[in-house]
């Protein structure tokens, strides 16, 4: 799960990485108390999980407390992409001398953490990385040995730092790695890492993403509604299902991510519009009924397409769930189902018994669903 900037900065602050003084406000009224404790000018930073908020004008530097309150009022509740803005971080601005970039993430090819640093930070790091890749210094980390002092020393020297700034940045990189490990992070990114005119180093932003599969080790984080783009996505998550809204009219329920993606591709290739991604494969095989309940809530649904290949989730077990849910919900949209896998004969019988069209190939089922959606 992604953390908000303010959450990431709190982790940084507690770990000793310097972050600017700041206050989080969740309503314009909360701005009043800040005007007593903070000096203006103030940086206003809308708290959203998606990137590129700066280009969208959601970071502003303002002097006047009246104006600050007004902007906070405008932002809170507004949408940024599919996200709703719930809070704004007010911070003392930094006196920026130089911007650096620092990140730790996972390099899947080597199966190791990778640390990245660049002497030129700020918004255009991705462009810089294709235009001038040598400007970004990287170090792979052996997971058992950790990020070693010599690696930090060499990186910091290679991005042109020396003296006390080098010392501060070294300490920050070491701390970032410790946090990366202790929080099961997929990403810890500071962009920009700011050197101010006194030579102090500050994390001006914080991108922190924790591995969902490791959240059981980090009970302090819980994925609330704000972590999802869509009500159904959140509802599916609570049921242990993976759902993404896609905006079309063919509801899709499949076993396994690969088969789901293939079904979506086939719908598109056959001219249809998938409404969603919904995978109930793997360990969630008892969830066929839940998946059906979620999918049938999609607005504007014309047809529901189930594509299954029951393995670990046996075909007949899936069929039982489907039959149960259909008898309970009595959906009005037509349902098409591709039935294969362990126990498939029995599964097909059960499904057909409640009047659902079955197929034994995915594309056949897809074509029929597209046909019905267009009807």
């Amino acid at each position: 799960m992604k953390l908000y900037e303010y959450q990431g900065k709190e982790i940084f602050r507690n770990a000793g990485i310097p972050v600017p003084e700041g206050v989080l406000v969740r309503s314009p009224d909360e701005v009043n108390k800040c005007s007593k404790s903070m000096e203006s000018p103030v940086m206003l930073k809308a708290q959203v999980l998606a990137g590129k908020r700066g280009k969208a004008g959601l970071i502003q530097k303002l002097d006047d407390w009246g104006k600050i309150k007004e902007i906070v009022g405008e932002w809170i509740g507004r949408k940024f992409g599919s996200e709703k803005i719930n809070s704004v971080l007010l911070e003392n601005p930094l006196d920026i001398e130089k911007e650096l970039y620092a990140a730790i993430t996972i390099d899947p090819a080597s199966g190791s953490p990778i640390v990245m640093a660049c002497g030129e930070g700020g918004m255009d790091i991705e462009e810089l990385s294709s235009a001038k890749p040598e400007a970004i210094v990287t170090e792979r980390v052996n997971i058992f040995k950790g990020l070693l002092p010599f690696q930090i020393r060499n990186m910091v020297a290679d991005i042109g730092l020396s003296g006390t700034v080098a010392k501060s940045v070294s300490k920050i990189l070491g701390t970032m790695y410790r946090l990366f490990r202790s929080y099961d992070a997929e990403l810890v990114e500071i962009n920009p890492l700011v050197i101010d005119s006194d030579g102090n180093v500050w994390a001006a932003d914080a991108k922190f993403r924790i591995d969902d599969n490791a959240l059981f080790r980090h009970k302090e984080f819980e994925r609330g509604r704000e972590q999802f783009d869509d009500d159904l996505e959140y509802e599916a998550f609570k049921l242990g299902l993976s759902y993404v809204a896609l905006g079309g009219n063919i509801g899709v329920i499949c076993t396994g991510a690969g088969l789901t993606m293939t079904t979506l591709d086939l719908i598109k290739l056959n001219g249809g519009k998938p409404a969603n991604f919904l995978d109930f494969g793997g360990a969630n095989y008892k969830n066929a009924a839940n998946a059906l309940r979620i999918a049938l809530k999609i607005k504007g649904l014309k047809v529901l397409l189930l594509v299954t290949f029951g393995l670990f989730a046996r075909a007949d077990t899936i069929a039982e769930g489907v039959v149960q849910a259909i008898e309970e919900i009595k959906p009005k949209v037509p349902i098409i189902m591709a039935v294969r896998g362990t126990g498939e004969e029995r599964a097909r019988e059960m499904i057909e018994a409640i009047g659902i069209e079955t197929y034994n190939d995915t594309e056949g089922a897809v074509k029929r669903a597209v046909e019905l959606a267009e009807a």
């Binding site: 993430t105 991705e126 990385s129 997971i143 099961d184 991510a257 591709d265 896998g341 362990t342 190939d361």
Partner: protein, 293 residues
């Protein structure tokens, strides 16, 4: 013969006394798999479908000479089970569990590399050498999906593999080995590693690669073909052609993958290396039929 797994491979089932472990041990035995031991701490001395259960992998290895493990172990305990297996000298292991923490996987992969061992998975439906042995839950008994034949299959996907495999059989062919490397972002073994094994396998005349959007494994496979490390006919099917680009790794992720990862990028890479890329699962069968086996 196929790769990795044969009817002679001596297999231990970690977590054999659990519900799934017991259920699938039966099927794996029916597939011909030589399961010589099971391991569940504290359950030493029991038998599951006739297979003796040991309290530790070290003991199982000592008593039975097993060198391959299939793990029916929950994700939170997978790392410990894999470490125990590696420490005991197991050289091939299949992690079926989904939702294994990625940091755990980094540790497992690093340890496996140190031990010169191979991890398949996590988040895989397993692997099989058709007609000989199976680890995991590949439905080898569906004869419209799996039959012995000259095609190797390497896949990141579970049920999609069956879909694609059924088209191999419809084309009148069959499979040597079907190797599931799993759907996680950091698999223990990568597509190109498996291609190298199929290259050396005499029985395998061509390979079907089942890939998907995300990561750079298909691009690496294309690179291997270009460098001459894999010379047999290669047919790919890639899921996620219309999937929105994955953004979760932020700038750092984009810097690492350097513009790779989409089905388009993978298709271009594979085609420019001389591989054929099917637009639909059924096309895999059609392309194979055009080739002469």
């Amino acid at each position: 013969m196929g790769i990795i797994l044969s009817s002679e491979t001596r297999v231990v089932v970690q977590g054999i006394t659990g519900r799934e472990g017991t259920f699938w041990t039966d099927w794996m035995l029916k597939a011909g798999t030589k399961i010589v031991a099971g391991v569940t701490p504290g359950k030493e001395g029991q038998r599951v479908h006739g297979v003796p259960v040991y309290g530790s992998v070290r003991k199982a290895v000592k008593e039975t000479g097993c060198d391959t493990s299939v793990m029916f172990v929950p994700p939170a305990f997978t790392k410990d089970a894999v470490f125990e297996a590696l420490d005991a000298g197991i050289k091939t292991m299949v992690i079926l569990a989904e939702h294994v923490p990625v940091h755990d996987m980094l540790e497992m992969k690093t340890f496996a590399t140190e031990c010169d061992a191979m991890i398949l998975g996590p988040n895989t439906a397993g692997s099989a050498t058709i007609g000989e042995a199976m680890l995991g839950f590949i439905p080898f008994w569906l004869d419209y999906v799996y039959r012995p034949g000259p095609i190797g299959v390497v896949t990141r996907s579970g049920s999609l593999t069956n879909e694609v495999s059924s088209h191999i059989v419809s084309a009148g062919l069959g499979q040597t080995s079907v190797i599931g490397i799993g759907g996680d972002p950091v698999p223990g073994t990568r597509t190109a590693d498996i291609l190298k094994l199929f290259e050396k396998d005499d029985k395998t005349e061509a390979v079907v690669l089942v890939g998907e959007a995300g990561g750079t494994m298909e691009e690496e496979a294309a690179e291997l073909v270009k460098q001459g490390g894999f010379t047999k006919p290669l047919v790919a099917f890639l899921a996620g052609r219309f999937a929105p680009p994955e953004k979760k790794m932020g700038h750092a992720g984009a810097i690492i993958t350097g513009g790779k990862g989409s089905v388009q990028s993978k298709t271009e890479a594979l085609e420019s290396a001389g591989a054929r890329v099917a637009m639909k699962p059924a096309e895999v069968g059609e392309i194979l039929k055009e080739m002469s086996f």
